[in-house]
């Protein structure tokens, strides 16, 4: 079994933390893993993406081929659309529905969300609002991960919860609790 995930967002939104949690969970579960990140110039408010490949068998390419992604996981709705050519025939899109507007020519929001909704498998939620409501505004990315957990047959939700505990342990109990709460809200939110 293999799962190819395209992680997307805007520099500074925390997609690499999602990747770190998924990586930790996959390693603990004994899965093979490759994760290609973007460092350097593009991190300054530009679009960022990361290819995460999980598999029970050896993985060769660090990059996901076009039409190969099982999941696009995005912190921002337009960034989810950017990687459509990578989405596979059975692939799902899990994304924040809240635009991050830092460019003058950002597309019309209604049209953008309509295009998203026209895709066969889409789950979107205002993850920032959910995180704020939980009094954990910095944990929006874990809300998104919770939503994604519904689509990740290769990893059990409990594997991901344990990984959150491990990854955020050094930041203290409060941060761990906030992130777990956010994860559960995302997971329950899309039942």
């Amino acid at each position: 079994m293999k799962t190819d995930i395209k992680l997307a967002g805007v520099g500074g939104q925390g997609i690499l933390s999602i990747a770190t949690v998924l990586g930790e969970a996959a390693t603990e579960a004994g899965l093979q893993l490759k994760q290609a990140e973007v460092h350097g110039m593009s991190q300054r408010g530009g679009d960022v993406q990361s290819d995460l490949r999980l598999s029970t068998d050896p993985i060769f390419s660090d990059q996901i081929p076009l039409g190969g992604a099982d999941l696009i996981l995005s912190m921002e709705p337009m960034e989810a659309l950017r990687y459509l050519p990578y989405l596979g025939p059975e692939g799902a899109v899990v994304t924040s529905s809240k635009p991050f507007v830092n460019i003058p020519n950002y597309p019309d929001e209604t049209a953008l969300l309509a295009e998203l909704d026209s895709l066969p498998k889409v789950t979107r939620m205002d993850i920032d609002a959910v995180a704020k409501e939980l009094m954990a505004p910095r944990s929006a990315n874990m809300v998104l991960l919770g939503m994604a957990a519904r689509h990740l047959a290769i990893l059990a939700p409990e594997d991901l919860r344990n990984a959150i505990r491990t990854v955020f342990a050094r930041k203290g109990d409060k941060v761990v609790e906030d992130n777990l709460k956010a994860f559960d809200a995302g997971y329950e939110g899309i039942q």
Binding site: K34, H39, M41, G67
Partner: protein
């Protein structure tokens, strides 16, 4: 005991070097190589062993210091992005002539597709040019394993070893089985002066000795298990470094495959592949380094294809899609590109001091339509994009000052240079000295954010020393200004710029304010400590 660790390719190189008994790493930050040195700086074993790891002023000082450590008998590592090889080429090529004592490994991280670079140069040409062995890992495990082999090889053949990386491997993570560290070398400075004093008489002898080493280097590459030949039928494929992964991802059954991870190119293995195949496809990231050699080796009659023939794209990095296409395999997108999509280029952070610098500069230059602004390498290169559109050139580290000077020599006025603090100490100080000696009519804006920001906030070599450096290079006191780039100081900043544009000699204006990113990081660390 081998344990598994999840590591970036860069981190696997760093840990491989530490476990190989490294005594010092010398580097200037540059994407995609920065994480190698950062890993060593943060590693407990490196601390325990006192591994030297501070950032260097540029790649040339790094290479020379590493050569000095090698001279002293210890193992040294030099890391840089590909264009850094241009900066240290003098030392690198001559280190092939002197040879080494302690193992010396040079990591050049190439950036096919220019994710964060100005060109796509392939560092393997430098290795061939300097006549030294080259290693090219295909995955994260090989990054770790090859590092120990590289140090051993370097000491056995007494030459620097070039280890060529590419962005995709440098910044991709995978589980790596790691072993135990071996001891560091003892201090044992070389006493063979005729090897190290490159007077022409010695240099001629040393160069001849380097040529004499070539058959041994080739024999080692031929026998290396890193250069693996699997014979099949029909098409023969040569896959270099990371290209091996893309080939394995899409590989049709039954083809013959030669994986190349050690150079000089194993010619006998290439001939064996050719004999077992009807044609050869060369798959390599970067420039057609191997393809050209294979063509020369097999002659015009043997069909060889790759980037030169258009079977693979001539520019840009390899990926599973263009490699699959080279094999004639179907694939490609299921969904068409989205309609509601706009590009989102990187931009200067909100609140960044460079923003205030460009705002002030644009305001003043509106009155000087003939002005030209020569930019440089760093975050402030983003001043080329909207909303600022403030610079007319960006070429290489330090070129802002010297190009402004050359343009001023030709009659351009006003000629303005915009350079960051770290780039200035890397390669701008000598430029400024040239300008001072000619009393060139240029205005230099040395935008100082107290860090090497673009690569993630590494220490900058000249922090708190810039006024002293400029004065010592001969800039006149009355034409040297420090300002604080904040909106509330706009009136003062624009006045200073205007006055100095009107002065027909060298002036330096230093807008000085800490990078927002490093400031935020320090504040977070302070809060965490409380």
């Amino acid at each position: 005991m081998r344990v598994k660790r999840l590591l970036l390719g860069d981190e696997a190189l760093a840990l491989g070097a530490l476990h190989a008994g490294l005594s010092g790493v010398y580097a200037y930050p540059g994407t995609p190589s920065t994480e190698i040195t950062e890993f060593i700086q943060g590693d407990p074993l490196a601390r325990e062993r006192g591994v030297r790891s501070r950032w260097c002023t540029n790649e040339k000082t790094a290479m020379e210091a590493a050569l000095g450590m090698s001279f002293a008998g210890k193992r040294a590592l030099v890391c840089m992005k590909h264009v850094g090889m241009n900066v240290c080429a003098d030392a690198f090529v001559n280190a092939g002539i002197t040879g080494v004592k302690g193992g010396l490994v040079v990591v050049a991280a190439d950036d096919p597709s220019m994710h964060s670079s100005q060109n796509e140069q392939d560092s393997r040409f430098y290795g061939k040019f300097a006549l030294v062995p080259i290693l090219e890992p295909s995955d994260q495990q090989e990054c770790y394993d090859l590092m120990a082999e590289a140090f051993r090889l370097s000491e056995e053949v007494r030459l620097p070893v070039l280890l060529r990386m590419v962005t995709r491997l440098a910044h991709s993570r995978a589980a790596v089985a790691v072993g135990d560290p071996i001891p560091q070398n003892e201090l044992a400075p070389d006493g063979e002066r005729t090897r190290w004093v490159l007077l022409p008489g010695n240099a001629r002898r040393q160069y001849a000795a380097l040529i004499d080493k070539q058959p041994d280097l080739l024999a080692r590459a031929e026998q290396s298990p890193r250069n693996l030949l699997k014979e099949g039928k029909g098409l023969g494929v040569i896959a270099c470094g990371i290209a091996f992964n893309y080939v394995r991802e899409v590989l049709p059954e039954g083809v013959s495959l030669l994986k190349v991870s050690q150079y000089p190119l194993p010619a006998a293995k290439v001939r064996a592949l050719a004999a077992a195949s009807d044609e050869i496809l060369v798959v390599e990231d970067g420039q057609p380094f191997v393809e050209e050699q294979v063509k020369a080796l097999l002659g015009a009659g043997y069909p060889v294809s790759g980037r030169l023939t258009g079977r693979l794209p001539r520019t840009g990095e390899l990926n599973p899609d263009n490699v699959a296409a080279a094999f004639g395999l179907a694939g490609g997108p299921v969904h068409q590109p989205a309609v509601n999509l706009a590009s989102r280029p990187p931009q200067l952070c909100q609140g960044c001091g460079h923003r205030d610098v460009y705002t002030a500069l644009n305001q003043v230059l509106a009155d000087y339509p003939e002005a030209r602004v020569f930019g440089d390498i760093g975050c402030y290169t983003l001043g080329a994009l909207p909303p600022f559109r403030a610079i007319d050139s960006c070429v290489d580290m330090g070129a802002s000052i010297t190009m402004a000077k050359g343009a001023a020599d030709a009659g351009v006025y006003p000629a303005v240079a915009v350079i960051g603090d770290s780039t200035f100490t890397h390669s701008g100080m000598t430029s400024l000295l040239d300008a001072v000696n000619d009393n060139a009519a240029i205005t230099v804006i040395l935008s100082d954010n107290l860090t090497t920001a673009m690569t993630g906030g590494q220490d900058s070599a000249g922090t708190h020393k810039f006024e002293a450096i400029c004065l010592a290079l001969g800039v006149e006191r009355e034409h040297l200004h420090v300002v604080v780039p904040l909106p509330k100081n706009m009136e003062e900043i624009t006045r200073v710029i205007r006055e100095e544009l009107d002065y027909k000699g060298v002036s330096v204006i230093i807008p000085q304010r800490e990078c927002m990113q490093t400031l935020a990081r320090k504040n977070r660390q302070k809060r965490a400590a409380q």
